[in-house]
């Protein structure tokens, strides 16, 4: 509570505060602390900056807002005065005042509370006529006017009228709105809006500022649900979400989807994700957006050097951590993700909004999300949001907590709850135990690990050549198994199918028959079916019966002895001959080289064409291609001329800029700049200007000013040969041309 001796200013007050109060203020309004203020005076002046105050106002609940309004309207006012006006418990008013005081939105003493001027400016409404005037006016207006007044009063809304500020005499008032304005029962806040002023409001509401109690926190509609059930449902969702993320990223490792030119992911690609994970597109969007927010996914390049969405190197680390750790990364990323994922799939004008596309960032979103979830955290353990009415009550509670928050933001609450349920922070409408840990900045991993299915290290292999893993598999094991068999169905369990192709894949990557069999025997809880053993043997039997290699040329002859002789010829050593069959030799020396060398060795080879026919080895005659006719000279000349002119004019402009630079003393102050420009415009002379362009880089131009006014310079630019306008505040200096 404030000190007894009345402070003169807010700075005075702040100076008298103990450290912990100051710390609390800086914590609640962190923008005051950056950069560190030099003294209390500076802190006080910063505390009344419009933006900062507006942000602080967002923190207030209904009780505090109404209390602040009462201070603004009646201040300086004592606590007792305020208790008279406010429809709330005295204790609640005191607490609200303390909070406002702590936020440096009001200052003074319990006998005289004051609001800062800027606060009054932001939240205040007109004071309105005196009590007697109000009563008289109310008696004089007609029924239609009264209806409008009552409506505005009940909804607490601002009315919209045209020319709200025009003065109206009572005698001239014809329409109901004009009557109300003339009697000052409505007063304008700006040109278009009118409100019920403070005094009228109090009068209509029986001396209080609101009709209903403002310290009445709307209750959440809840129902009983066992904590274990909530946790089970949430853990199921958490596991599913993690698994699906891994599935998508794993699939994209090998077949990355193209990145759109506008950024983002194509609609078709998103649908493919939905199909892959057996979910609707909204969940698919949440998956990829969350993965991107967790830095597991980013734009890279595919094999064709086109932009594509690829798992990042962080993905490898992530994928090798435990399921609970993986989930924690995703859940944190979701909590702090400023992107409005629920907008994906909608349209922005006539343009569809793609997943991962730029422009979805909303800086307030993480804060709102936390508020929603923190509100759910206030539910007792064993209680969850009621199925039908829960969401409505949550919205009412949030509206009470943040009365200044726009309705559009509150309308996102159901979406946030759905997303939190999909991720597993919520289950059956209640906060899961590991979600609670995460929200309270504790470690959710041990809690979640206990809830997730324990990884299994075995499968059940069956005679229909499938293997079923009755739970999540250990990672290494899963990787090995997926080499040997194809995944057929996923979920809590995984079904693998062995086929000729899948077993051969294992052989291709270097497994031997014995290794395959040993692996199967070790991993199966049940005896390996005979049919699978047979399949492995069958694949092994055929594996490698075809040999493939590359060679530049081949030699074949029915005369095996001739070939043997050639192979053993001393001079043939560097021809890299290799005999692959009794009648066939291959070499990786090209034909053109091999042919003369073989002739040198005394052999008499003929060359075979691709179809096996003998080609006569006559030297080939070479021809070059007739050059294409040159384009008509006129066109080339015209192009060259045009290019030259452009270059020259640019050079000339540059020259002039250089030549004119050290003219008379340059105009640098704003006044000088203006006068120099005006002078040049009058005289129709060229000037050199230094100008900061849109990117903040300094450029120099030689221009012929035409007109100066409205903060703009309109001038003829030599460089572009066109009339351009320059913002005068961006012009750093002006030099007049040399005499």
């Amino acid at each position: 509570m404030p000190a007894s001796s009345a402070p003169r200013t807010l700075a005075d007050q702040l100076r008298s505060w103990p450290d912990d109060r100051l710390a609390a203020l800086l914590e609640a309004r962190p923008d005051l602390a950056v950069p560190a203020p030099t003294d209390s005076a500076q802190l006080a002046s910063r505390a009344v900056v419009r933006v900062s105050v507006a942000r602080a106002l967002d923190l207030l609940d209904r009780l505090e807002s109404e209390t602040l309004l009462a201070v603004v309207q009646t201040g300086p006012a004592s606590t007792e005065d305020l208790e008279q006006v406010l429809f709330a418990d005295p204790g609640a008013v005191t607490a609200a005042l303390d909070r406002l005081y702590g936020l440096a939105l009001v200052w003074g003493t319990t006998d005289a509370w004051r609001a800062t001027t800027i606060t009054a400016d932001l939240v205040g409404i007109p004071a309105g006529p005196s009590r007697a005037e109000t009563e008289r006016a109310l008696a004089r207006i007609d029924e239609r006017a009264r209806t409008i007044l009552d409506h505005l009063d009940e909804t607490d809304a601002a009315g919209t009228v045209t020319q709200a500020r025009r003065p109206i005499r009572i005698a001239d008032a014809t329409t109901p709105t004009e009557q109300l304005l003339a009697h000052r029962l409505l007063e304008p806040t700006d040109d278009r809006h009118v409100v019920v002023p403070w005094s009228v409001r109090l009068h209509l509401r029986g001396g209080r500022s609101t009709r209903e109690a403002i310290d009445d926190v709307p209750a959440l509609a809840d129902s009983a649900r066992e904590t274990t059930l909530v946790d089970r449902a949430a853990a199921g969702a958490a596991y599913e979400f993690t698994r699906r993320t891994e599935m998508v990223l794993e699939a994209w490792s090998t077949r990355p989807p193209a990145g759109l030119r506008t950024g983002g992911l194509g609609v078709r690609e998103l649908r493919a994700v939905a199909e892959l994970v057996h979910a609707d597109p909204a969940i698919a969007a949440l998956l990829v957006e969350t993965a991107a927010a967790a830095n597991l996914l980013a734009v890279g390049m595919n094999d064709d050097l086109d932009a594509a969405w690829l798992p990042t190197d962080a993905y490898d680390t992530w994928a090798s951590s435990s399921p609970a750790e993986r989930w924690t990364v995703l859940a944190k990323a979701w909590l702090d993700n400023p992107r409005l994922v629920s907008a994906v799939g909608g349209r922005d004008g006539d343009r569809p909004i793609n997943a991962l596309s730029p422009g979805l960032e909303r800086s307030w979103l993480p804060g709102d999300r936390r508020t929603t979830l923190s509100t759910l955290l206030t539910l007792e353990p064993g209680r969850v949001l009621a199925a039908g009415t829960g969401l409505g009550s949550l919205a009412r509670r949030l509206r009470w907590q943040h009365p200044r928050r726009p309705e559009a933001r509150l309308s996102l609450v159901p979406g946030t709850v759905d997303e939190a349920a999909a991720i597993g922070l919520l289950g059956l409408g209640g906060v899961s135990s590991f979600g609670r840990a995460l929200l309270l900045h504790e470690d959710p991993i041990p809690v979640l690990t206990a809830l997730l299915p324990t990884p299994v290290d075995h499968v059940l292999i069956q005679a229909d050549l499938t293997a079923v893993a009755p739970g999540p598999l250990e990672q290494d094991f899963a990787r090995q198994l997926s080499l040997l068999a194809d995944v057929e169905s996923r979920g809590g369990a995984t079904t693998y199918r062995f086929s000729v192709g899948s077993v051969r894949r294992a052989f291709d990557s270097g497994w031997s028959t014995d290794e395959v069999k040993a692996f199967l025997a070790a991993s199966s809880r049940t005896p390996v079916p005979q049919a699978l053993d047979y399949l492995v043997d069958d694949v092994a039997r055929r594996f490698g019966t075809l040999r493939l290699g590359s060679a530049e040329s081949f030699l074949r002859s029915d005369d095996e002895t001739a070939l043997t002789e050639l192979m053993h010829h001393a001079a043939a050593a560097n021809l890299r001959l290799r005999r692959i069959a009794p009648t066939v030799i291959v070499s990786d020396v090209p034909l053109q080289v091999l042919l003369p060398r073989l002739r040198e060795l005394g052999a008499a080879p003929v060359v075979e064409a691709a179809d096996g026919t003998v080609r006569v080895a006559r030297p080939e005659e070479h021809r070059s291609r007739t050059p294409r006719a040159a384009p008509p000279s006129g066109l080339t000349d015209a192009r060259r001329a045009a290019r030259t002119t452009a270059v020259i004019s640019a050079i000339r402009a540059g020259d002039r800029a250089a030549a004119q630079r050290p003219a008379r003393a340059p105009a640098k102050t704003p006044a000088d700049v203006m006068s120099a420009l005006r002078e040049a415009a009058e005289a129709r002379t060229e000037v050199w200007i230094g100008y900061l362009d849109n990117h903040g880089t300094s450029v120099e131009r030689v221009v012929r000013p035409l007109e100066v006014g409205g903060g703009q310079l309109s001038a003829y630019d030599e460089r572009n040969e066109e009339v351009r306008s320059f913002a005068i505040h961006r012009i750093s200096e002006v030099r007049r041309p040399k005499a």
């Binding site: 449902a233 369990a493 049919a531």
Partner: protein, 554 residues
């Protein structure tokens, strides 16, 4: 973590761990709505399909029960989206009803205005609907339906995803006394259940494995209906067997049962007709179609529903006012027209998993063995250079197979053995080598019946048969089957052929089902489908080399 036997996957499959202590309970809980897709030894796979869920709805289960069953037995959390999807799908059944209105006749009604409007505006139902009806009680919308479009409309609505529930009822048909004569035998429990489920449901399909006595279920249904009955079967032999069975099991006499086939055209109170004769087409018309209107049938029995040819579907669409029972071993159709079976014949009314019935001792367990032979060098070359369409025949008809068949027959000397093949030349060659009679398409019905009878009595114990024996041939004592070639490993054919062997054996011995396959050819590729199918059905499956036959023990 709940330690249940089920794992529900997000792709709508449900895995059931067979060895789990709650497995039997869980299986019973999910059987009404989940279709068993694979049942190998350790983990069975069920699938949730819209048709399965609607079948469950038709049987009186609601989404709540389905979801409860999944949650109660699931080991891990059930994907939330799946639960939502189940509720939504099940909710679609019965939003639309076909009803009988005293004034307007057949009426399509709905309590859901939005759905009703969506449906009647659809192009797919254009022309089937008449005037809207305003004064329908308990309905948000109603529209008259032309009676002839009852079947077509149901088909169209199923395609739109809003299957209609048919409350329009049935005509009684011409009454005819039919009783079961349970002298010396009695209806098995599941047969009784099947017939009753059908009767209460009005019309629908009963799924029972081969050898589980579908004919008797048909007879029991007739005893319920007590009306003139039209029985549609696949072929003449099957028709004769139906007749013999009905004479044996019911009060019907020779004079009351007619056969309507290529050979005979009798129309009696109970008429057995073949698909073939009904779908016979001359000059663009089906001359035998009037059979369907020849009498005021009270019941239509469809044998082997999964083989129902397309023209019969079209005819069935016009028979919606009569009670219909479909009998089959499997709802799976190679042509994927399961939806038509659902909408035209009716939802599944009874289903018993093969393995369960086997466990009850009604059908024999089978041991499937694939014998791999190698093509001799010369044939291999011929195979390698053959046209793709010739390859299967080349591989199938290799003489090596005949030799292996001979060895196998010798191994099982004295047991009732069938050799089954596709190609006539090969069958003749086999018959000659094995010294056994050959039954093929051109064999007269009389001769066929004689041979079968002889086989039944054990007079002969080796028969070589072509695919004519695939369907509805009753060979009670076949203990060994040797398959040398087939029609490209179709699942249906495998099921049928295996069915030949699955009748209970007097000595309780395990049946053997050999398939001779040429390795490294398309034959082996088809064998893979077969292996997968049989293993998925839960049969023991082994692969052996032809050289190892001599060491094979029985």
């Amino acid at each position: 973590m709940n330690d249940g036997p089920l794992i529900v996957q997000s792709d709508k499959t449900v895995l059931l761990e067979v060895d789990h202590e709650q497995a039997a309970e869980a299986r019973r809980a999910i059987a009404p709505f989940a279709e068993l897709e694979r049942s190998p030894e350790h983990i069975h796979t069920y699938r949730l399909t819209p048709l399965g869920l609607w079948n469950a709805r038709a049987a009186g289960h609601d989404a709540e029960q389905v979801i409860d069953a999944l949650l109660a037995y699931s080991r891990y959390a059930v994907p939330h989206s799946l639960l939502v999807d189940i509720a939504e799908t099940m909710d679609r059944y019965g939003r639309l009803r076909l009803e009988k209105h005293p004034v307007h006749g057949l009426v399509l009604a709905s309590t859901d205005r939005a759905v009703f409007t969506e449906v009647i505006r659809s192009k797919k139902v254009a022309g089937m609907l008449g005037e809207p009806i305003e004064d329908m009680p308990d309905a948000e919308g109603a529209i008259a339906v032309h009676p002839s479009q009852r079947g077509n409309l149901k088909q169209a609505l199923l395609k739109l995803g809003w299957p209609a529930e048919d409350f329009a009822g049935y005509v009684d048909g011409e009454a005819h006394a039919i009783e079961l004569t349970e002298d010396g035998w009695e209806l098995r429990d599941y047969q009784k259940q099947a017939a009753e489920s059908f009767w209460h449901g009005g019309s629908g399909v009963v799924v029972l494995p081969c050898g589980a006595g579908k004919t008797i279920v048909g007879a029991a249904a007739m005893a319920h209906a007590k009306a003139t009955t039209l029985i549609l079967v696949t072929n003449t032999v099957s028709a004769r067997q139906w007749k013999a069975e009905l004479l044996k099991r019911t009060s019907l006499t020779e004079d009351e049962i007619g056969e309507y086939s290529g050979a005979r055209k009798e129309i009696r109170p109970v008429t057995i007709a073949t698909y073939q004769v009904l779908t016979l087409r001359r000059k663009g018309v089906y001359p035998h179609l009037e059979l369907l209107d020849a009498r005021d049938w009270g019941l239509v029995v469809y044998d082997e529903v999964h083989l129902l040819p397309a023209p019969i579907f079209r005819m069935t669409a016009d028979l919606q006012a009569r009670r219909r029972i479909g009998l089959t071993a499997t709802l799976i159709r190679e042509d994927g027209r399961e939806g038509d079976v659902f909408s035209l014949i009716g939802p599944k009314r009874f289903d018993a998993p093969w393995k369960d019935i086997e466990a009850q001792g009604w059908i024999a367990p089978a041991d499937c063995v694939e014998v791999r032979v190698t093509l001799p060098e010369g044939e291999r070359l011929a195979y390698a250079t053959a046209e793709p369409e010739e390859r299967y025949r080349l591989a199938s008809c290799t003489f090596s197979k005949t030799k292996v068949a001979e060895q196998l027959v010798a191994l099982h000397a004295g047991e009732q053995t069938l050799v089954i093949g596709q190609y006539l030349d090969q069958l003749d060659e086999l018959g000659e080598h094995l010294g056994a009679p050959v039954i093929k398409g051109e064999t007269s019905v009389k001769e066929r019946e004689e041979l079968f009878a002889a086989f039944r009595t054990g007079e002969i114990n080796l028969l070589v048969v072509s695919k004519v024996a695939n369907f509805s041939v009753d060979l009670p004592e076949a203990a060994v089957a040797i398959q040398v070639s087939g029609s490209f490993g179709s699942r249906q054919e495998e099921a049928q052929r295996l069915g030949r062997l699955l009748r209970p054996k007097a000595d309780g011995k395990t049946a053997r089902f050999y398939t001779i396959v040429v390795r490294d050819t398309v034959d082996a590729d088809f064998a893979q489908n077969r292996q997968r199918f049989l293993a998925e059905q839960g049969y023991a499956y082994r692969i052996m080399d032809a050289d190892d036959i001599s060491t094979e023990t029985l």
